[in-house]
């Protein structure tokens, strides 16, 4: 599934990376801990978090994630936006809280486990 399909289905706001919505989404990962995401997410994952500081871009880029969804309508910091544009990482915003958002992603077929 491509990021674009998810943006449309869940009415996400595209803050950065409108050009990269063709990214293929292979799965999902939800966590607010940087080290946890670094250790356990996988390439092509869509990352759901509430963190908005610039480090989320570094982590996403390091792990080659498909994109970041911020929950509860949270806006990225200005510097986060700048870095995301530089590193070509799409940042999307959902008005939904994490539980609801992840449930809907799962319904769309985004799974947290590769072999599931």
């Amino acid at each position: 599934m491509r990021l674009k399909d998810i943006v449309e289905a869940l009415e996400l706001e595209v803050v950065t990376g409108a050009k990269w919505l063709g990214n293929e989404v292979n799965g999902g990962y939800a966590s607010d801990l940087m080290s946890d995401v670094l250790a356990n997410s996988q390439k092509g994952d869509l990352w759901v978090t509430l963190q908005i500081h610039p480090n989320i871009v570094a982590v996403a880029s390091m792990r080659e994630l498909a994109g970041i969804i911020l929950i509860n309508g949270r806006r990225p910091e200005k510097e986060t936006e700048e870095r995301a544009t530089q590193e070509k990482i799409p940042i999307l915003v959902s008005r939904l809280p994490a539980f609801e958002l992840i449930g809907r992603l799962y319904q769309l077929g985004v799974s947290g486990m590769r072999d599931a």
Binding site: D32, M34, S35, A39, N55, V59, R63, E77
Partner: protein, 314 residues
């Protein structure tokens, strides 16, 4: 020139890739006793233009939208598809190259062809234009990742540089407390290594381990220095600070152990996973620390990815 070469590659692949490899296996089929009145629903719900009629694993005919329309137009009574299906079916053998399939699509203008195993005559699936495109894309992808594995080694840089020993040294200064700037060193190192043609998996490992070390300097070490030395065999990273030092290293290395202040934890750091992450990415890891003097960390990585190199996951 590159474009020419890629077209050439596709030409090669259409001969290499067999119909049997590209075909779809999960296929909607009909039995000879399916009634004509049911055909429309089957074709429509599966979004297909025709369905093969199969009896005991053998292809005995095909029923298409056309056959269905003809039946409707004539106003014939309902009957098994066996009576209305086309019996002369154009099919392809499993072992034919997809170039044959492409020719058949052009020649007959059909949307799909049944696929048959040559020896047993068994029906094994259906091939459409979409299957061919997907099959070719997959073949190119496999080819490409093979190329990636063999050519990304950093070797070519060293091979083309004449000297008995070559090493490259990158050094970076990291300011303490500037958590907003976290990851700048790791990102910059990552870019440098990819310019040098290092294998992507090695880059991933180096970048993650460096990122964790960089964050440690920012959060605990009050800043410091990261030195990266790359020679013909390995990448060695040294991380130095003159910060408070670690009183009990064994304890600090334990997953989950953290002395991070609250403001750091709120940003999603200080989960006690930094050292474990570094250890799982690097193939050598050493740490020395004296309280009140500072901490020095050594991490080593192979320059070339071996076949059995796993993803950088604990």
């Amino acid at each position: 020139m590159r474009r020419l070469k890629e077209i050439h590659k596709i030409q090669e692949l259409v001969f290499e890739l067999k119909v049997g490899e590209a075909k779809a296996e999960k296929v909607v089929t009909l039995s000879p006793t399916t009634m004509m009145s049911e055909v429309r629903a089957v074709l429509k719900s599966n979004k297909i233009a025709a369905a093969p009629v199969i009896e005991h694993d053998s292809l005995i005919g095909i029923i298409s939208v056309n056959d269905y329309i003809n039946w409707l137009a004539k106003g014939d009574p309902d009957c098994p598809v066996y009576e209305k299906m086309s019996r002369e079916v154009v099919f392809l053998f499993e072992d034919e190259p997809v170039v044959d399939a492409i020719k058949s699509f052009d020649k007959y203008g059909f949307y799909e062809f049944p696929v048959i195993e040559r020896r047993s005559g068994r029906f094994t699936g259906i091939i459409t234009r979409r299957d061919i495109i997907l099959g070719l894309l997959k073949a190119i992808e496999i080819d490409y990742s093979k190329m990636e594995l063999s050519s990304y080694s950093g070797r070519h840089f060293f091979n083309e540089t004449a000297a008995d020993e070559i090493s490259l040294l990158f050094t970076y200064g990291v300011e303490g407390r500037k958590i907003q700037r976290g990851g700048e060193v790791a990102s910059s190192l990552k870019r440098n290594l990819s310019y040098l043609g290092i294998h992507p998996e090695i880059i991933r490992r180096v970048a993650i381990a460096t990122y964790e070390a960089e964050m440690n300097l920012i959060i605990y070490g009050e800043g410091g220095e990261i030195g990266v030395r790359m020679d013909m065999e390995r990448i060695n990273i040294t991380v130095k600070d003159t910060g408070p030092g670690i009183p009990d290293i064994q304890k600090a290395l334990k997953p989950g152990f953290s002395t991070a202040p609250d403001w750091v934890r709120e940003l999603g750091f200080g989960a006690g996973m930094g050292f474990p992450n570094m250890q799982s990415c690097a193939d050598s890891f050493e740490i020395h620390s004296t309280v009140g003097v500072g901490t020095t960390l050594h991490m080593g990585f192979p320059l070339e990815a071996s076949e059995n190199l796993m993803e950088c996951n604990p």
